[in-house]
């Protein structure tokens, strides 16, 4: 007789640990475990069969992979966390005893740990790290706006500010920004770094709003930021080196002597910091690379993938055009527009930008410069008694964002000050077949494809709607004939029945398809039904949007 096999000793039942079991195994408190999980990037797993994974219990438990927990067991940070616990105890004791010398000594010897090895471990390659940059950037940008709070010491937000500014400088220098979207939540930016599409959000520029402790736990976010700041630092370092820019960023030259005199109470460091924060000056490069930057793609002889290649080429052209979109533009920002985002966007596509020197440090020219091509205003300046120049366009900030998303300099007429702006369309939406496309976007897409539609936007839909109307009129005519008068007895000449061959064929193919649908494998039947349902639902939604559009803007 073989060895008796016990239940849950192998297979899925032996793969998982509940959180409680994990805590026992690691001998950590829940708080420490949470911190460790965040830093090490350990997360619960969804088992294939929950009942089996939980040894027969069906209530929902947090399950971690046993291997993950064993992996945590060997983490040196665990010991640091335990030391930290001891440190806190010692500190508390010294405080209670009013042993201030001891307290100072204890606090000087506060155990610290570095997360460098964890960054390396979580992201085996640099590209992996870049791929995971979305959340890192969003949270870092958020923390850079925070005041010093109980769980967010001032140093953290300063570090976040520094790192995010460095990142923005890289984006400007490397010209990798691709899309911008202004939403009611904040600014969405999308960049293409090392072939990875990265999207991050910057909130609108307002002061910190206190949060209810029931809703937001800053401790958890701070733990994330602790890791993310390390990650972002290393990524910045490598990005800067890859782009031949020196790290930490140094500015080319502090140009005007007059500015230097204005230094006043500022130290040299603070002065530099402000310049960097202004995002308005180029950073010293270690070595100059070729000004075009883009590598020429060789021509390949026409092959099978010719179409694909042509498409790639078209995309490449588009990107190249986009990179130098604002080349030669000299833009002045009024004080009511969001300075940082606009300066970043304009500079990331090759434009030069400035603002009122009283607004922020780093202004390079003033409002009265005759060479300014665009001035961005959000207020109607005609009402104010300021001199207006004929040599420049006074436009609203949306022009910048829409131009970036369409990769062309859009006509400025629609964006003049005081004009009713065209809708700001999200550049991230990729419509599937049957989805609703707003007319503005359809117009633009058609334009890109080379189809010129002038005037009416609804042309296609109108055609559709007119068709049934014709049928209706026919019917009504028939009906009226019948109703009109009792027809006098007569024999009309018989007409050969007109067989609509197209319709017949269509019906046949439809029936054939229906018969084939009957033979869908049982395994796929539900899936097929669900897919068709969702398609129907999407179509319905699109129809609803069309109807709403007609109602709102006839």
């Amino acid at each position: 007789m073989g060895k008796i096999k016990k239940k849950f000793e192998s297979g899925e039942g032996s793969l998982y640990l509940t959180r409680k079991q994990a805590l026992r195994k690691l001998q950590l408190s829940l708080k420490m475990f949470r911190r460790l999980c965040i830093l090490k990037g350990i997360y619960p797993r969804e088992p294939k069969n929950r009942k089996r994974a939980q040894h027969g219990s069906t209530e929902k438990k947090t399950l971690y992979l046993k291997k993950d927990i064993q992996f945590l067991l060997h983490e040196p940070i665990v010991w640091k966390l335990r030391e930290h616990k001891v440190y806190l105890r010692k500190k508390g004791r010294a405080k209670a005893l009013r042993d201030y010398d001891g307290l100072k000594r204890i606090m000087d010897n506060k155990p610290t740990y570095s997360l460098d090895h964890i960054v390396k471990e979580r992201y085996p390659t640099f590209v992996d790290a870049v791929r995971d940059l979305d959340d890192c950037l969003t949270l870092s940008f958020l923390f850079s706006t925070f005041p010093s709070m109980r769980f967010v010491p001032g140093g953290v937000s300063a570090l976040c500010r520094r790192l995010t500014l460095e990142f923005l400088h890289y984006v400007i220098e490397a010209r990798v920004l691709r899309k911008v979207f202004v939403s009611i939540k904040g600014y969405y930016y999308q960049a293409d770094i090392k072939g990875q599409t990265i999207t991050w959000i910057m909130s609108h520029n307002f002061g910190f709003q206190p949060q209810s402790p029931d809703e937001v736990d800053f401790r958890i976010m701070a733990t994330f930021v602790e890791f993310y700041s390390t990650l972002l630092g290393f990524i910045n370092f490598r990005l800067y080196h890859g782009a031949n820019i020196c790290y930490p960023p140094k500015l080319t030259a502090v140009n005007s002597g007059t500015e230097n005199e204005k230094l006043g109470a500022l130290t040299e460091d603070e002065f530099m910091e402000e310049r960097i924060a202004s995002l308005n000056q180029t950073i010293i490069r270690i070595q100059e690379d070729n000004p075009d930057g883009a590598v020429e793609v060789d021509e390949f002889p026409a092959g099978e993938d010719n179409e694909k290649l042509a498409e790639q080429r078209k995309e490449l052209d588009r990107v190249n055009r986009l990179k130098n979109l604002f080349n030669g533009l000299k833009v002045f920002l009024n004080r009511e527009v969001p300075r940082e985002s606009l300066a970043f966007c304009i500079r990331a596509f090759g434009g030069t930008v400035s603002w009122d020197s009283g607004l922020f440090a780093g202004a390079t020219f003033n409002q009265f410069d005759e060479t300014i091509t665009h001035q961005i205003t959000d207020r109607n300046m005609q009402s104010t008694e300021q001199t207006q120049y004929l040599s420049r366009y006074y436009i609203q900030p949306q022009w910048v964002f829409d131009s970036i998303n369409s990769a062309t300099l859009l006509p400025v007429e629609n964006y003049f000050q005081g004009a009713v702006l065209p809708p700001h369309i999200s550049p991230f939406v990729v419509e599937r077949e049957g989805d609703y496309v707003p007319p503005e976007k359809r117009k633009f897409l058609d334009m890109e494809k080379g189809i010129v539609t002038t005037g009416e936007v609804f042309t296609t839909e109108e055609q559709k709607t007119t068709e049934p109307e014709i049928v209706k009129t026919k019917k009504s005519k028939k009906g009226s004939k019948v109703e009109s008068e009792p027809v006098p007895m007569a024999v009309e000449r018989g007409m050969a029945e007109v067989v609509d061959l197209m319709k017949q064929k269509d019906d046949e193919t439809k029936e054939e398809y229906r018969l084939r649908v009957m033979m869908i494998r049982n395994k796929h039947k539900r899936l097929y039904r669900r897919m068709m349902e969702s398609r129907k639902r999407r179509n319905k939604e699109a129809e609803k949007m069309v109807k709403k559009r007609k109602k709102v803007a006839p």
Binding site: I38, G41, I42, P44, E46, L63, L65, K67, D68, F71, K120, R122, T125, V127, A129, D134, T138, L139, L142, L159, F181, S183, I184, G186, K194, T199, S203, F206, Q211, E215, V216, D217, I220, M221, N236, R238, H241, P338, D378, P397, Q398, L421, P423, H424, I425, S426, F428, V429, E511, L515, R516, M518, M519, I520, R521, N522, Y528, M531, V552, A553
Partner: protein, 713 residues
């Protein structure tokens, strides 16, 4: 003891004037038991009086342990609560409890006795003791945190034992040691060591560690990974969903919520995850007007929670279109011929037609129904209907003219009770129809077709065979009885009649037309009987039935017998008398059964909407389960010549399918539904009850509960 020593300490300055007895009094702390102090009450000792004036207690002027007359020791006194005594004296005699007054006594004492407030109870003796004034004073001082001894002077002048004044001559005449003048050598050694270490740079002055993080080139290359231990089977977190047009600060106006949508949005405040957006779309005229987004930090926090708390799993997402799930089948056009249009509708029955059966030549068919007539008595007919044959097919293309032209009822038989089944004898030289009428099976000579055959059949059945040498057993006699010759019935066309003990559901002929089998679902172990027409004998093929038998079938070629119970189809070898196979239909209730003329394929119709195809060579599991009917499948049929089969269901649809069986054993049958025919109407939730193919042509007949028979060509 403590007390005495203290006293001694305090009075140390003065010559002690204490009674030596008192000084060595070992129990002076147990004040209650020192009655000798009664004598010098003025000296600050304790007065203890017994309120009950029990002189025995104070007889002896001693406070030794021995004087405590209760010898039980220091134990909880409640141990003696149940006893009349309170302990034992030195002689071992019981100390009785003093008389305890009741509450009234207590109250009276409280009222009358002025010392009541300072009376305490001695738990050892159970006696009441009045505290002396001194005691009361002492307790009061302790309570108010004063020094217990009233005689102690807290503010007595300080006696300076060791004066600060330097005396001219030392008290000890010893010179100081040399070491007290010289610097410590050991200290010097220690210090020189530290100095050396500092000089060598081993010890550095404490420096504040720089809080600034140092970054360096962590990854050597972009896409080369070092092999170190990492998290097992990592699943990267999904990226956040990118914003749509509705989130824009200036969206197209159709994205704004209208009143109805807004109400819906607000109604879902308890279950916000059901909302379409987690924000209300808004439109601003200019960027300057956009306010701060209230939930921004909260949303970021929720993302953090998702990252470390959400269980992750890899989910396969299909990128195919729905059309790709539909199988590629040959076009029905290439699989012609098959029936496509309604050619003839046979009307005449007035109630549901349960069964139809085709003559071998395809010229006639019989149908059986339960017709209710005006008399509200059930009259049962067999309609023999002339089928349009090849000659007049051209006339019948339009079903408008069929009634006049062809659908002619040739013969009608009145049988008096419900006809459940009709089945034409498959023997070419016999003109017989077996009819299941309630619990009887009637063999009728319909008298149509070739007259020669009709007459020959009559002569054959006119005289019953000899039964002398055959004794049927009792079980059989009860179950089925062959009726003797009856002229009256003969005239009606009934040639043979067999009475059964239960209603007959189905009659089916063996291919040669001599044997036929009868199914009685209520008959338990005697559900199936096989009758032999030539010898007029019957037999049970089964000793025990394995479930409720639905229908039976003879194999067209081999001596096999199919029995369908509710769940399975069992195949028996009639020669070897054993079960050959058991087909698992994986359905709940079988309704009908049909076999391919080749004999290797079986289709089973079930009441749970399925048509199941079995390839007997392949497996006992279904080769394919077709679920194309919307309701219970009542009847299935194979065509004898064409690769066609049909199934009729209660959803009033008749589905004609192409079912090609190849001679090559390696090739599986090809099943393609080619036509869905609708025409019958629903009646009492019944649709099509029976389906039958024409023997020669690719035509299909269906009989329905709407009392019509339809022919599709």
């Amino acid at each position: 003891m403590k007390r005495t020593t203290k006293t001694r300490g305090i009075v140390a300055a003065e010559p002690p004037s204490i009674d030596p007895l008192e000084e060595f009094d070992p129990v002076s702390s147990s004040e209650e038991n020192s009655p000798h102090k009664n004598d010098d009450a003025n000296e600050g000792t304790f007065i203890i009086q017994d309120i009950n004036l029990q002189p025995r207690e104070y007889d002896e002027d001693s406070s030794d342990e021995e004087d405590i007359r209760n010898t039980i020791g220091n134990i909880p006194m409640n141990w003696y609560d149940e006893y009349p005594h309170i302990g034992y004296d030195l002689d071992g005699k019981k100390l009785m409890k003093p008389k305890q007054g009741d509450k009234l006594d207590d109250f009276l004492r409280r009222m009358e006795d002025p010392d009541f407030w300072k009376t305490v109870k001695d738990r050892q003796t159970g006696q009441n003791v009045v505290l002396s004034d001194k005691d009361v004073d002492l307790i009061g001082r302790i309570q108010s945190a004063n020094v217990p001894d009233p005689s102690f002077d807290e503010y007595a002048p300080w006696i300076d034992w060791f004066s600060s004044e330097v005396m001219d001559t030392p008290l000890r005449a010893m010179p100081p040691s040399k070491a007290s003048f010289l610097p410590s050598k050991i200290e010097k050694m220690k210090i020189s060591k530290i100095v050396h270490a500092i000089k060598m740079g081993w010890i550095k002055p404490p420096q504040k560690p720089s809080t600034e993080k140092k970054f360096y080139m962590l990854w050597d290359s972009d896409d080369k990974a070092d092999s170190i231990r990492r998290i097992h089977n990592h699943i990267p977190a999904p990226k956040t969903r990118l914003p749509g047009n509705a989130e824009s600060y200036n969206p197209p106006s159709e994205y704004l919520l209208d009143d109805e949508e807004l109400r819906d949005w607000e109604a879902k405040s308890d279950e916000p995850w059901k909302r379409r957006y987690n924000f209300i779309p808004q439109k601003f005229n200019s960027l300057r007007e956009v306010p701060a987004y209230q939930n921004y930090i909260k949303e970021r926090f929720e993302r953090c929670l998702d990252l470390y708390l959400c269980p992750r799993a890899k989910k396969m997402r299909l990128t195919i279109k729905a059309e790709e799930l539909v199988p590629q089948l040959p076009s029905p056009k290439d699989l012609q011929p098959f029936p496509t249009v309604l050619a003839v509708e046979y009307k005449g029955h007035t109630d549901m037609i349960r069964s139809i059966s085709m003559e071998l030549h395809g010229q006639f068919f019989a149908s059986g129904s339960d017709d209710g007539t005006v008399k509200s008595k059930k009259y049962i007919y067999i309609y023999i209907v002339f089928v349009n044959t090849m000659e007049n097919i051209c006339l019948t293309c339009y079903f408008l003219v069929w009634e006049v032209a062809t659908g002619r009822c040739v013969k009608t038989f009145k049988l008096g009770e419900t006809v459940r089944w009709v089945e034409w004898c498959p023997n070419k030289s016999l003109s017989l129809v077996a009819v299941a009428v309630d619990s009887d099976v009637v063999i009728i000579n319909p008298g149509v077709g070739d007259k020669f055959i009709v007459e020959k059949t009559d002569t054959l059945l006119a005289e019953p065979p000899e039964l002398s040498n055959f004794i049927s057993n009792e079980r059989m006699v009860v179950a089925a009885q062959w009726e003797p010759f009856d002229q009256e019935k003969w005239d009606l066309g009934i040639r043979v009649m067999i009475r059964h003990f239960k209603p007959v559901r189905q009659v089916t002929w063996h291919g040669r037309g001599d044997y036929f089998s009868v199914v009685m679902p209520d008959g338990l172990n005697r559900s199936v009987i096989i009758h032999q027409l030539s010898t007029r004998r019957s037999q049970f093929p089964l000793n025990r039935s394995k479930g409720l038998i639905q229908c039976v079938l003879f194999h067209p070629i081999r001596p096999y017998f199919f029995i369908a119970t509710q769940l399975h189809v069992r195949i028996y070898d009639l020669v070897k008398q054993e079960m050959v196979k058991k087909l698992m239909t994986s359905s709940k209730w079988i309704s009908s059964l049909a076999i391919h003329p080749g004999g290797d394929n079986v289709i089973v119709g079930t009441y749970d909407k399925k048509v199941v195809w079995f390839d007997l060579d392949l497996s006992t599991k279904p080769y394919q389960t077709l679920r194309f009917h919307g309701n219970a499948v009542r009847s299935v049929a194979f065509h004898k010549r064409y690769p066609l089969f049909a199934s009729g269901s209660d959803d009033c649809s008749l589905i004609v399918s192409h079912g090609m069986v190849y001679n090559d054993l390696l090739q599986n049958p090809l099943l393609v539904p080619v036509k869905k025919l609708r025409g019958h109407e629903k009646f009492n939730d019944f649709g099509i009850l029976s389906v039958m193919w024409h023997n020669m042509q690719p035509w299909v007949f269906s009989s329905g509960a709407d009392s019509t028979i339809k022919l599709y060509t």
